[in-house]
Each structure stands twice: as C-alpha cells, then as structure tokens.
C-alpha cells in the first residue's frame, strides 16, 4: 500500500526530481524530523514527504523509500531481499508456500502460521520457564515450611525434657512417647492446615474481587490501512512539495482484550493442602519424636533438676 502510494506521488508532476521518503513517527520524533526535512541514506539525500504512524505491536521501519531507490542504494538493482505475499484465502497458504519454495529453492519461505508458531513456541517456552520457576519456588517454600515445623517441634521437645524424663521414669516406653509427640504434631499440622486453607480461600476471593482489570492490545503486523485522512506532515512547501493531495493515513488496526485476574480453587487443591499439612505434621513429629526417644531419663531428669 505504501509503494502504491509512492507511485502516485512520484508520478505526480509536483514531485519534481526530489527523492522522497516517508519516516516513522517515532523515528521522526527521536531525530527531530518533519515533513520537508532532509534525511541522508547511504550518502543520498531524501526529502521527508510525511510521517507514518504504526501500532506498538507492529514491526515498523524507520524510513520508507521507493523500491527502485532502495535497490540503487543497495547496489542490487532488480533485487529484493524480502517479499510479502498475500494468498487469496487462508486455505491456499500452504499451496502458495509450496509453490514459492519450488520456484525459489534458495529462499526461506515463512507463513504467518510459522511466525505464529515461533511466537507461540517462544511464549510456550517462556510459559514453561515461568511454570518451572513457580514449581521450584513452591518446593523451596514447602521445604522451608517443613524444616521450620521440624525445628520448632524439636525445640519444643528440648523444652519438655523434664516432662519426657518423668514419663520414662514412670515406665513409658520410647515408642509411646514418640507416638505422643507424633500425635501432637499431626494435630498441630491439621489445625495449621485448616487455618492455611481458610486464609488461602480468603486470599483467592480477594484477588478475584479486588484485582485491577488488565488489558492486552493486539495490532496488525506492519503498516495498516485506514480511511484517508489527514496525517502527520508539514504544511509548508519550502521544498516545492505539497503534501495534502497525497495524504494517506497508515493507521494500524488494533484489538483490545480485557483480562481478569483470578485465583481458581478446586477440590484437588484443597485436598493437596490438607495432605501437605498432614505430611508436614508427620515429618515434624517424626523428627521431634526421634529426639524425645533418644533422651536418657537420667540425663533428662538431671538437666531438669
């Protein structure tokens, strides 16, 4: 569409012998360019005819020049490096791809689907990475929680040395004392699990209720078309170029998708939480019980006294 527009401009008598270029609006802003400004490309001076606006998601070039001029600058007359092909329908893309590949065996023929797959693949890889990272973080947090529970249980056993020494003096076998510690620890795990599930459900509810809405904007690749209308450009005619007859708006098509953050819950997640709470209690209880079983009653009672 840009080249068609260029042809109309160049064929216009008012174009003169000037070499004309269109400049991306962002590039123009960075380099203080406007309609009528001069830009030099590979030693050749071009006059900026106007500015082009593209969407943030589209891949944009800095400067657009007629193909013939670009070929001259590249010293590759008659040659192009990239050809964009539009198929008549989506179902014809594969056939067209095959034909082009046959005609140009040395060329790399890529369809939109291939590009999408690359993006999807990249996204998928990124998603897998994020998921793996999340899983490892969860494992580390669980290990830390289990470790903390075990430490606290063991510390509790150390504080209750007199109690366990007395029980052993009364004839309690170590296994009964270990069972006592284990039972206490599992009950504590269940209570903690219940509290944790309650907090988690509340948190999920709050996230769903209070999270700010997000949106994703998707635009067409490359330059889009829009109805003709005014576009960026100078109003002066200092270089003998009038802009308005050739006005064309290159406005990209965009689509905004709203995203709502949610924290979904399921029976499986709740079941897993209960299982982990019990597991944490068991691990802490086993370690604490082992510590209690190793206590020698004489030493325990001496320390207590």
């Amino acid at each position: 569409m840009v080249s068609a527009w260029f042809k109309r401009v160049e064929s216009s008598p008012s174009a003169g012998n000037q070499l004309l270029a269109l400049v991306d609006s962002s590039y123009a802003k960075q380099n203080s360019l406007k309609a009528g400004s001069a830009v030099t490309i590979a030693g050749t001076k071009f006059t900026v005819l106007g500015l082009v606006s593209t969407s943030a998601t589209a891949s944009a070039e800095d400067i657009y020049v007629p193909l013939s001029e670009a070929q001259k600058l590249a010293s590759d007359p008659g040659k192009v490096n990239t050809i964009f092909v539009t198929a008549s329908s989506a179902s014809a893309i594969a056939t067209v791809q095959t034909e082009i590949q046959h005609l140009l065996p040395k060329a790399t023929v890529t369809t939109a689907a291939d590009l999408a797959n690359q993006v999807t693949g990249s996204l998928s890889t990124a998603s897998s990475l994020a998921t793996s990272l999340g899983v490892w973080l969860e494992v580390l947090v669980l290990l830390a929680a289990f470790g903390l529970a075990a430490l606290l249980t063991t510390a509790s056993v150390n504080r209750r040395v007199r109690e366990f020494g007395t029980l052993k003096a009364m004839g309690w076998h170590s296994r009964r004392i270990v069972g006592q510690v284990l039972g206490e620890s599992v009950v504590q795990g269940l209570i903690g699990g219940a509290l944790g599930i309650g907090l988690g459900v509340l948190g999920a509810f709050l996230v769903t209720k209070l999270a700010p809405p997000l949106s994703a904007t998707v635009g067409a690749a490359g330059l889009g078309t829009g109805p003709a209308g005014p576009f960026f450009g100078g109003s002066g005619s200092g270089n003998g170029v009038t802009h308005r007859p050739f006005a064309h708006t290159f406005a990209p098509a965009t689509h905004t998708i709203p995203l709502h953050l949610t924290a979904p819950l399921s029976l499986g997640i709740l079941g897993l939480a209960v299982a982990l709470a019990i597991a944490g209690g068991l691990i802490a209880g086993i370690l604490g019980g082992w510590r209690a079983a190793r206590l020698q009653p004489a030493e325990a009672l001496r320390r207590a006294e």
Binding site: T166, M170, W172, P297, A298, L301, A304, E305
Partner: protein
C-alpha cells in the same frame, strides 16, 4: 530386695570425667525406710537414679529382687520401672497440661489398665493424699504442697514395691514440709513398701531408722538410734553405725 555391690558411676563432663559414686555397697531390705543425706553434688541423686533403674553403673552390680538391673535391656528396665518404682521429685514434675487426676493416671498407662479403672484408682490415690476435691484442677492452680501431694499420689497409684523420692520437701515451706514428711511416713507404714528419700534436711533424714551419708561419692551409714528404737515396726537392724 536391693543389693548394691561395689557400684561406681563415672560421667563424662566436657573434657573431664566426674566420679559420682566410688565403689558403693549397700543392702536394702523389703519394706525398709532409708534416707540419703550429703552435700550437693556428692552423688545422692546418682544413687537414687541407679536404684530406680534410670541409670546404669559404670562398674559393679545393682541387684533388685535377684535381677541385675545393669544387665537388662532398655525395654526390660522400662518395664521394671513401670511395675515396681514410684518416683517423687523435688520440682514435682507434673504435666502442666493435665489435671491432677490425669497426672496420676499417667503412671498407670504403661500397665495397660483400662481407662475406667485408671480413673477410679487415680481418684482413690488423690483421696488418700487428701486431694479428692482437687482432681480436676491443673498444676498451675495448686499450691506447692498440693502439687507434691499429687506427685506422691502418682507414685503410689500403681502400688509400687519401692518409692524413690529426691528432695521431696526441697521446694516447700517448713509447715508444708512437715505435712509431706508425715504423709509419706504414714503411707510407708500403711503399705509396707520400701522407701528411699534423698534429703538435705537432717530432721527429715533422722525420721528413718538409718541414713546413708554420701560424701564425695563414698557411702557411710548412720543409725538413727531413737527412731530405730521407738518407731520402726520392722525387726531391728544393726545397732552400730556401719561404715562402708
């Protein structure tokens, strides 16, 4: 009942070794009341722990009812303690989260006595020490003397052959101390069990027919002549102090 032959007990303490008892020998008859006296850190508690199968001698033998306690496996020692010994400690050593009745019941758990019977015996034991109405109270709600009574009830509830008390009046005021001593003595006479009491208090020590004096890990015996002559219902033991 008890025969201690050349008992020594040596502990590793840091880089050094501490000899708590040196070649101690002692014979205790069934139903005897013996007090153990001596300076702090000289071996009194160590002797008590050996008598109660809570510790093993480094050398020598502790025979209880013909069994060498030092030769028994740990699980066997636990069973001997459960069936034969009742302990009373200076700091009472009650479980703070259990009521008085539950604390006493804890002594019956290893004997696999049914729950109903455990509760009944527990309440009976508390009644015997004058605390029937405090059965549902927690140790934190009881005075020092009451807590020690609960501890005595816990020691007696399983009708042990031996009561071993380590400074049972150490944390009590003078009046309460006297009450506890009188209570323990009465129970000893009524039940005919063997009782060994470690004490600093000479007045408490002299209530027994004889006192074992432990100094620097060595044992000597003192006959409490007046006590032996007037109060002891058992046949008289040696009239002369025995130096061992």
């Amino acid at each position: 009942m008890y025969e201690l032959t050349n008992i020594s007990r040596v502990y590793q303490k840091g880089r050094g070794r501490v000899t708590a008892l040196k070649e101690v020998s002692l014979v205790l008859q069934d139903g005897e009341f013996l007090t153990v006296q001596g300076p702090t850190g000289h071996g009194k508690t160590t002797l008590l722990l050996l008598l109660g199968a809570l510790d093993r001698p480094t050398s020598g033998k502790v025979n209880f009812d013909g069994r060498d306690l030092g030769a028994l496996a740990e699980s066997q020692l636990v069973d001997v303690r459960a069936q034969n010994f009742g302990f009373v400690f200076q700091n009472y050593n009650l479980m703070p989260t259990l009521t008085a009745a539950e604390n006493v019941e804890a002594a019956l758990v290893p004997l696999k006595i049914p729950t109903g019977q455990r509760r009944a015996r527990s309440l009976a034991a508390l009644a015997e020490v004058g605390l029937a109405e405090r059965a549902a109270h927690f140790p934190g709600e009881l005075s020092g003397g009451e807590q020690q009574r609960v501890a005595i009830a816990r020691a007696l509830v399983k009708a042990p052959k031996v009561i071993l008390a380590d400074e049972p009046t150490g944390n009590l005021d003078e009046v309460t101390r006297g009450e506890i001593v009188v209570l323990m003595e009465r129970l000893w006479k009524e039940r005919g069990m063997t009782m060994v009491v470690v004490t600093h208090d000479t007045r408490v020590a002299r209530r027994a027919p004889r006192t074992a004096i432990i100094t620097n890990g060595t044992l000597s015996l003192r006959m409490n002549r007046d006590k032996a002559a007037s109060d002891d219902p058992k046949p008289a033991m040696s009239a002369e102090p025995v130096e061992i």
